[in-house]
Subunit: 413 residues, 2 copies
C-alpha cells in the first residue's frame, strides 16, 4: 500500500512512539530537574521500565548521581550502570527479593540532608516490585487473599495495603524527608492515576484510616493485633517534599501524534486519551466522524489514545487495533484521502506480530477484490489475515515502551 | 433532576426538534423558491409527511398555488386545503389507490408551459405511496418477489424498479418538462441519498440499463417481453429543470442543536450526522471524549446525529437513546457539570413512551443509591426502569417528524 496518507501515518506513528520511549520521556522530564546545589542525588528506579529510565537518567546526569538502585522484574535488567545497584524481583507477586531490594532502597534514602535530592523513576509493575510490608509477608498475603475472596474491589484492597506498607501510599517519599523527591512517572494506566501507578510511593494517599477500619469490619477480616493497629495509622495526606512529572503516558503519545500531524498540514484534535469501548465500534464511530468531514476544506487529524476492548466471539487471529482499522474500512468505503490507523505502543496487537493496522477509503474494495468478506472476518475476530491480504498491517517490532494504543483518523484535503 | 445542564438539554432538544418539523423545514426551504413570474404553480406532495408539508406550503404561498395533490398514507391526511386534492394510498406496499393517485398527479403536470412551476414536496414512504408502474401491478409485485427471494440487495432492487416506473428515478421530473420543478425533500435517511428517498422522483438516476440487464441475468428472473424491453430503456441521467432543497434532515437537526448550544455559551462541534455504531459503545466513546475535556476553560457541546444500533441480549425495556445515556453515565461518573443526552426525533425511543434520556456525572451514584447495578441493567437491555428511577427519561410525546436521533455531550465550564 503506497500513497501520501500511508506515509503520513508512518510519520505520525514514529513521532508518537518516540515520545513514549522511556529514554525520551525521562530526558524530557529531567529538563525540569534542578540537579544543582551542593546536596547528593540518589536515584531510585522501580518498575518494569526501571532499567531504561535509569539508563537515561545516568546518561544525562552522569556523576551528579551519588548512588542509586534499580528494582525491576526478573530478566528486565541490563549492563551495570556506574554507582547503581541492580536488583530483580517478583512480579506480579512480591517475593523475598522484593522486600530485600526495597529495604535497600529505604536504607539509601534514610538520613539524607535537606539539600539532598531523590530522583525517583516510577513505571508500571512497581506495586509488586517495590514493597516492604509492615507485617510478615505471609500475613500480608493472607489479608490480600481474604479481601479478594470476599469480593473487595481494587480501591478497597489498596486502602488496606497502603497502611500495611513502608513505601506505598506516599510513605517512600516520607522516608526520604528531609530530602526532596523528584518523581518521574512513566504511566501505563489510562487517566494517569498517580496513587495507582506502583501504588503511589511518592503520592499523598486520599484514603483514610476510618475507611480502612470500615473495610476490615465490612468483610469481617481476620487480622492480627499488629495489623489492626497499623490500619488505624494515617498515611501521608500532604507531601511537601515531592515534585512529580508524569511522562511517556498515553497523553503524551497523543500530544506527539498531534504535533506530528500538525507539521504534516493537518488540523489536529485529540478527542480522548482514555478510549475504552469495544474496538470495532470505535472504528464505526470514527468512520461516522470521517463521513461528516468530507466536505471541509481543511485537512484534519482526529487523535485518540486508550485501550479498547475486543469481545471474542470468533476463533480468528487479530487484535484490538486491527479490529478498529478493519471496522472503519467498512464505514469509510469510497471516501477519498481518508484513513484510519491504530497501533499498540508496545508494538504488539493481540497475539500477532503486527503493531496494528491501516485502512483507507479503498481498503474495503481491495478486500472485495480479494474475495474477502469484511464483516465475516470481523465477526470471526479474524482481522489479521484480511489486513495482511491488502497490505494493511503495521509492523514495528517491540518498541520498548507500553503506554496504551494510538488511533488516528486522517482526512487530507 | 434539576440544574442548568438539564435545562440546557431541554433547550437544545426543543430547538433541534423545531427545526426538524415539516412545517419549519418547508418554510425554510421555500425561502429559496421564486413564486414570481406569470406561470402556474402546481403542488405535488408525496410521502408520510405530505399533508404537513403541503399545509405549510399553502400557508406561505396561498392562492399563488394554482392546484395541487397530496398523496399520503391512509389516515395521514387532514382537513381539506383550498385547491388541493387529498389522496391516501398503500404503505408499505403500493395498491390500486397508489396508482390512481399517481396517474392523477402525472395528469396534473402534463402539458405545462416553460414558465410554470411544480413544487414537489417529498418525504419518506414515497416509494410505495407514489407509483405508476409501466407493467401491470401483479407483474411488478412478482418481479419484486423474485428479486427478494434471490437475495438481491436494495440497490439491485431499485435499479430494476426505476425502469418499470413512470415516476421513479427522475421520471416524474421528466414528465413535468418543460415546466421547472422545485423539489423540497424531507430526509429521514442517513446521508440524504436523494435517489433513495421516495425512489428519487426528481433525481437523476445513476444506475444504467446495462446494470439492470446484468441483474436480470444474474438472478435468472422470469420477465415478460415488455418488462425486458423496459429494462433496456435508459432513465434520465440529467435533469435540467430541477432544483432541490434537502431539509428537515438529521444534518439540520444537528445544525439547530449546534446553534442552540452556542447561544447557551457552549463551543459546539458536530462530530457526525451519520452515527451508526452500537448504542452503548457510542455512550462509552462519548464518555471518553468527556473525560478528555475536563481541564479546559471552554464550555463545549459535542453534537451527533444518526441512528445507533442495539444488540438485544436481554429481555428488559429500553431504546437506543436510553442505552447511549446510561452507558455514558458509567464513563462520566463523578465528572462535574458534564452530561450526555440522546433523543429520537420522532419522540419515541424503542418500544417505550420516552424519547430518550439524560445522564450526568451524578447519575451513576444516584443509581447506586437506589440499589441499581448500571452494568446489569445495560446487559439486560433494561435502561428504561433504571433511568426512570433517577428521573433521567426525556418525554416529548410524538413530535410529528422523524429524522433520526440527536445525541449531545455537554461540558459546562
Amino acid at each position: 500500500m503506497a500513497g501520501s496518507l500511508w506515509e503520513d501515518a508512518r510519520t505520525i506513528i514514529g513521532a508518537a512512539l518516540k515520545a513514549a520511549q522511556p529514554h525520551e520521556a525521562v530526558r524530557k522530564a529531567l529538563a525540569d530537574f534542578d540537579a544543582g546545589g551542593g546536596g547528593r542525588v540518589i536515584l531510585a528506579a522501580i518498575g518494569k521500565a526501571a532499567y531504561a529510565m535509569a539508563e537515561a537518567a545516568v546518561g544525562i546526569l552522569g556523576s551528579r548521581i551519588s548512588r542509586g538502585i534499580i528494582i525491576t522484574k526478573y530478566g528486565h535488567g541490563g549492563e551495570a550502570l556506574p554507582g547503581i545497584v541492580l536488583r530483580e524481583s517478583g512480579h506480579p507477586m512480591p517475593d523475598e527479593n522484593t522486600i530485600r531490594a526495597t529495604e535497600e532502597a529505604l536504607a539509601m534514602v534514610r538520613g539524607l540532608a535537606p539539600q539532598d535530592k531523590v530522583l525517583l523513576l516510577v513505571s508500571g509493575g512497581g506495586s509488586s516490585l517495590f514493597e516492604s510490608p509492615r507485617v510478615p509477608l505471609p500475613e500480608l498475603r493472607d489479608i490480600t487473599r481474604q479481601l479478594l475472596e470476599s469480593g473487595a474491589d481494587i480501591v478497597e484492597l489498596n486502602t488496606l495495603r497502603k497502611r500495611l506498607s513502608n513505601v506505598k501510599g506516599g510513605r517512600f517519599a516520607l522516608a526520604c524527608q528531609p530530602a526532596r523527591v523528584f518523581a518521574v512517572v512513566l504511566s501505563d494506566i489510562i487517566g494517569d492515576p498517580l496513587d495507582m501507578i506502583a501504588s503511589g510511593p511518592a503520592y499523598p494517599d486520599s484514603s483514610t484510616s476510618r475507611q480502612a477500619m470500615d473495610i476490615a469490619r465490612k468483610y469481617e477480616l481476620k487480622l492480627s493485633d499488629k495489623a489492626l493497629k497499623l490500619l488505624s495509622e494515617e498515611t501521608p495526606k500532604e507531601l511537601g517534599n515531592v515534585e512529580t512529572r508524569v511522562t511517556g503516558s498515553v497523553t503524551q503519545l497523543c500530544a506527539a501524534a498531534s504535533k506530528a500531524a500538525e507539521s504534516l498540514g493537518y488540523a489536529p484534535q485529540v478527542l480522548t486519551s482514555s478510549l475504552d469501548c469495544v474496538a470495532r465500534e470505535a472504528g464505526a464511530f470514527l468512520a461516522a466522524i470521517a463521513r461528516e468531514h468530507q466536505e471541509g476544506l481543511l485537512s484534519r487529524a482526529f487523535i485518540l489514545g486508550g485501550e479498547t476492548v475486543v469481545k471474542v466471539t470468533g476463533r480468528g487471529m487479530g487484535g484490538r487495533n486491527q479490529e478498529i482499522a478493519l471496522a472503519a474500512a467498512s464505514g469509510i468505503r469510497g471516501l477519498k484521502d481518508t484513513a484510519v490507523f491504530s497501533v499498540g505502543s508496545d508494538g504488539t496487537d493481540g497475539p500477532t506480530d503486527a503493531a496494528g493496522a491501516y485502512c483507507d477509503g479503498e481498503s474495503a474494495d481491495r478486500l472485495i477484490s480479494q474475495g474477502i468478506d469484511l464483516q465475516e472476518f470481523l465477526n470471526d475476530n479474524n482481522a489479521y489475515p484480511a489486513l495482511k491480504a491488502i497490505g494493511g498491517l503495521i509492523m514495528t517490532g517491540p518498541t520498548g515502551t507500553n503506554v496504551n494504543d494510538l488511533t488516528v483518523l486522517l482526512i487530507r484535503r
